[in-house]
Amino acid sequence: MSGIAMPQPDEHILKRAPQIVAALREALPQDTVISDPEETRAYECDALTAYRCAPLAVVLPRSTGEVAAVMRICADMGVPVVPRGAGTSLAGGALPTADCVVIGTARLRDVLEIDTDNRFIRVQTGVTNLSVSEMLEPHGFFYAPDPSSQLACTIAGNIAMNSGGAHCLKYGVTTNNLMGATVVLTTGEIVELGGPELGASGLDLLGLLCGSEGQLGIVTEAVLRIMPRPEGARPVLIGFDGAEVAGECVARIIRSGVLPVAIEYMDEPCLRAVEDFAHAGYPDCAAVLIVEVEGSPDEIADQIARIRRIADELNPVEFRESRNADDALAIWKGRKSAFGAMGRLGDYICLDGTVPVGRLPQTLRGIGELSKQHGLEVANVFHAGDGNMHPLILFDANEPGQLERAEAFGADILRLCVEMGGCLTGEHGVGVEKRDLMGTQYDALDLEMQMEVKHAFDPAWLLNPAKVFPLEASAPYRLKAAE
């Protein structure tokens, strides 16, 4: 086990495990509660697989009322609750503790309302991200946030982590597309925030809730903003022989008034891995940008011509246009297989820091230097338009000490992101992974205010405790609540 500590489970809770499970079983339909250790093991980790711990029990409710019943029981019996969507968090957001009850959204799968006149969809939050857009397709609409795990990840998890995706340069992240939520508080109370109206008066509790990583409540239903599908979309590929000039191209595109839906960046190590794996036919160069624009065929042609003029001033190694759907697929092929390609090279940690776009070249240089210092390879593939980096640190999990070295390297990269004026996490969340780095971005007082806000919602600190905030900083709250 490596660097990230979790608090010792509460012996008193573990001793009362049979009574807790019995109380849950009494309140809920039989197949809702899982306590057999063989079965709870399936919930021992999320996509941050280096950390595992089976929970005391798992509950898979089918309704808001059932979630509320579980929350009431857990509050009454003083049992921590760890909410879980599909378990695709890369930050350990759904990592259980031995003394917790996991509330999973897997069976909250109903679509409740599609209203294209008012441009929203209302769903139970266990539906997957991709299925929302698929359901909207016949209506000519889509749901904008598209995290790369969209096939599996749930709306509940998207809301908890304020997920983004490749297209958020134009359409924003989850918080910009969330209109309303049905929230179960730690008391079991059910609260409606927002709705089909464009905004509400009063404090923006919905905005606070989104991205709160299960610290404040569990969202069981959501009203999501939907948008008309664009007439078409087309990428171009631009190769450059240096990171600096590629970064400059990104800034000039943005300044020009063209607003692409996505600007993706891949560096040389990533390009090499992708070429070996997917044979996407990318140019052999230091950096590749994939820029996607939307509209009618003429609008697309006009925007691509503008981008070409900007790129040409910077002497690209290659400027590749897609003339049809097959070309477009070929351009995206390498980018979409990047993570798979990197996985073939060995184990990796995927980071998520954001830096101001103007600082991208400098940050990439810094990451290169850190790579030498730590003696581990790193590849960069990320959303360049908004500065959201995804350095992939390669290591060998079977070699003792390598995970720790990779984690130390990752921590240094995130510190660098903060130094550059950026932040620790752009779309994955803090979870347990970046919890103890929070002090690099926020002062003690800033963190105290955030913990006080959690305290206002969850005075007993039962909701996803020991995450988001440095363990040491949250200890006084957790200990006081346990008294």
Partner: protein
Amino acid sequence: MTTDAISRLAPATEDELGGIVAEHFASGQPLRIAGGGTRVQTGHVAGELLTTRAISGVVTYEPGEMTLIARAGTPLQEIEAMLASEGQALAFEPPDLRRVLGGDGLPTIGGMVAANASGPRRVMAGACRDHLLGVRFVDGQGRILKNGGRVMKNVTGLDLSKLLCGSFGTLGVLTEVAMKTLPHAQARATLAFPGVDEAAALRIFASALATPFEISGAAFHDGTAWLRIEGLPPQLAYRQKRLQDLFSGHEIGILDADATVSLWRDLRDVTHFAGTDAPLWRVLVKPSDAPVIAGALRRLGGQVSLDWGGGLIWYCGPGEVAAVRAIAPHSVLVRHAGQNGLAFPPQSEPVARLSQGLRRKFDPAGILNPGLMGV
């Protein structure tokens, strides 16, 4: 620091401001928080007036990063001119309510964030809160805090910036805000649909907003519905043609770029309900409910206009607070004009309790705009 004739506290720095609030925290004396004093009528709020207008100046503006950081008291006019010189803008089109509310202050960027002030383009681009990247503020104990940052994607910790946005100075006094800026559209036009009622306007809005033509304004007043389109010049021509085809059964007038700019500035600033001191209500509804609610409001004896594709109703006219709220619960009284009652609507019990709990965390002595926002 200056304290002018009407006993206005106007600290020039964040530290000075922190000192003033700390003193008031210790003494329990309330403060009436304002930026330029142009957005919310706080006459009924107790306390000495504290304005952030002297905490002014742009900290950094990076057009290639679409990022602006400015101190709270910076005049919005100054910022808009600076962004325009780089071909950018605040996409949510913050309204200027001086024509409607009177008053001679200068709208500030801090006041804009504190009010979550968003104009007609909100229907496409989102609200002020969607473009806010980070804040610095002084809490009710006089402590200086920050949240968020200057980058567009940031999920590090709890999003207190959203909470501060639209909190009207009740959680803290903003001292600095970081905003996302966007390229300003290069071309624009308006399609005008004369001779329609609210129900017909809503049908036009729903059809138009279901197209991929990025309608950036959908408003109605006095028998005319308007749709605004924007974009690169070739996009604009294409979008106009497609919309004219879609609504071929309607009589449509086309407004050019200049007429479009002035029409939407007036709609943004609600100037059609200026020049009277009748109560003015800002009502948020599900767009398709707008015709029925607008009709019921009109029967109280006043006039209505619609914005945000029907999602926002302005009601100008008589009516007791209770009567308006019975028709439209999500209604905020923007211009009081002697009306009794709270400016903000009451909330459900758990939401009110959570909001009060948060206010106690940020402002334990209850000195920041007490009485505003229902507490």
